[in-house]
């Protein structure tokens, strides 16, 4: 079975810089109208970890769920 991933966003730490949005290869992420990160297509996430690696604010974490 394909792996699935859960994204944990600390909204209070996110500054809406858009870096994770730019690096996500699957267009999972968007900046919402409130200027914060929104996970719009969680089912598309491939767990590459780019968002977590590059977020300057430690605001997003990727967890693999069995």
């Amino acid at each position: 079975m394909a792996k699935t991933f859960k994204l944990h966003v600390q909204e209070a730490w996110c500054k809406g810089c858009g870096i994770c949005v730019g690096f996500c290869p699957k267009k999972v992420l968007e900046i919402a109208v409130n200027g914060k990160l929104s996970v719009v297509r969680p089912e598309e996430c491939v767990g590459c970890g780019q968002c977590q690696l590059r977020c300057p604010d430690f605001a997003i974490e990727v967890e693999e769920v069995k």
């Binding site: 600390q10 209070a12 730490w13 500054k15 809406g16 810089c17 858009g18 870096i19 949005v21 730019g22 690096f23 690696l53 590059r54 977020c55 300057p56 604010d57 430690f58």
Partner: protein
């Protein structure tokens, strides 16, 4: 994999850095490097100067010490001499390290003291509002150069190499895994280790120079970078405006100052029949 948050003072988040500033991403890489080298919180000191880059010590959970502008290396020298058993790292900015602290940089490198220095080169004085620094590319717009700068930056890695630094490397925030790897090598290296990380200051450099979003600034770093290997076959003209990334110096022929000094102390004490 490293849980970066284990080494972060979470009560200090959200940190003071602007949206999209490279500092937080580099702090993450530094933490992963420290963890990969097996350093412990109790045996690691992080010393900074003044500037946005100096705020690494607010969020990173080690023995941290923010000092005077340009003087991080002097404090780190004192620290290492008193506590040679500790791993001492320095986070500093281009203004802090290569501007006001330039002379300290030369002589700390020359002495080859066992420190790991990460110089965040965002090419501007970020904290004070975007005055140009000795690392600002020519020509650029800065708050102190409304029409354009009119002077050239210098290659800080070449300077450290000439002064006698025994480990010298360069990377960017775009190449964040390479940055981590180079910081790891720098920590493991015995002697003065210097890693320059080209970073983005969207607020005080990017905006004035119409460089787009933080993501666009990262892509620009990617576009401008060539590896040390690629650079070998390129002419000086071809290398103009390029960022050469990778390991630039790695020499083991010189003992670090702190070791030589400890040896001397041991010898002097032995003469009196005493031990360290």
């Amino acid at each position: 994999m490293t849980n970066v948050k284990d080494y972060i003072r979470q009560d200090k988040l959200p940190h003071i850095w602007c949206p999209g500033c490279g500092d937080g991403t580099i702090a993450g890489a530094m933490i992963r490097a420290i963890d990969a080298c097996g350093l412990t919180k109790d045996n690691t000191a992080l010393i900074t100067g003044i500037g946005c880059s100096a705020r690494f010590n607010n969020i990173m959970d080690f023995h941290t010490f923010q000092t005077a502008h340009g003087r991080a290396l002097s404090y780190a020298t004192g620290f290492k001499m008193m506590k040679p058993e500790m791993d001492v790292l320095v986070a500093t900015g281009d203004g802090d390290c290569a501007g006001i602290g330039g002379n300290h940089l030369i002589h700390t490198a020359r002495r080859n003291i066992d420190l790991t220095v990460v110089m965040i080169n965002n090419q501007i004085y970020g904290m004070t509002g975007g005055q140009y620094s000795p690392m600002t590319p020519y020509p650029s717009i800065a708050s102190t150069a409304q029409y354009s700068t009119f002077e050239y930056p210098f290659d800080v890695c070449e300077l450290v190499k000439a002064a006698g630094g025994t480990y010298v490397a360069r990377s960017t925030t775009y190449h964040i895994n390479l940055t981590q790897k180079l910081i790891e090598n720098a920590i493991r290296h015995k002697g003065f280790s210097f890693v320059e990380v080209i970073s983005q200051c969207p607020t005080n450099f990017g905006k004035r120079n119409k460089m787009g979003s933080p993501y666009d600034m990262l892509m620009k770093q990617k576009e401008m970078s060539v590896t040390v290997e690629q650079a070998k076959d390129m002419s000086p003209e071809e290398l103009e405006g390029k960022i050469v990334i990778g390991e630039l110096v790695n020499r083991t022929d010189r003992k670090p100052f702190d070791e030589v000094y400890q040896d001397m102390v041991r010898k002097a004490l032995a003469k009196k029949g005493e031990k360290l």
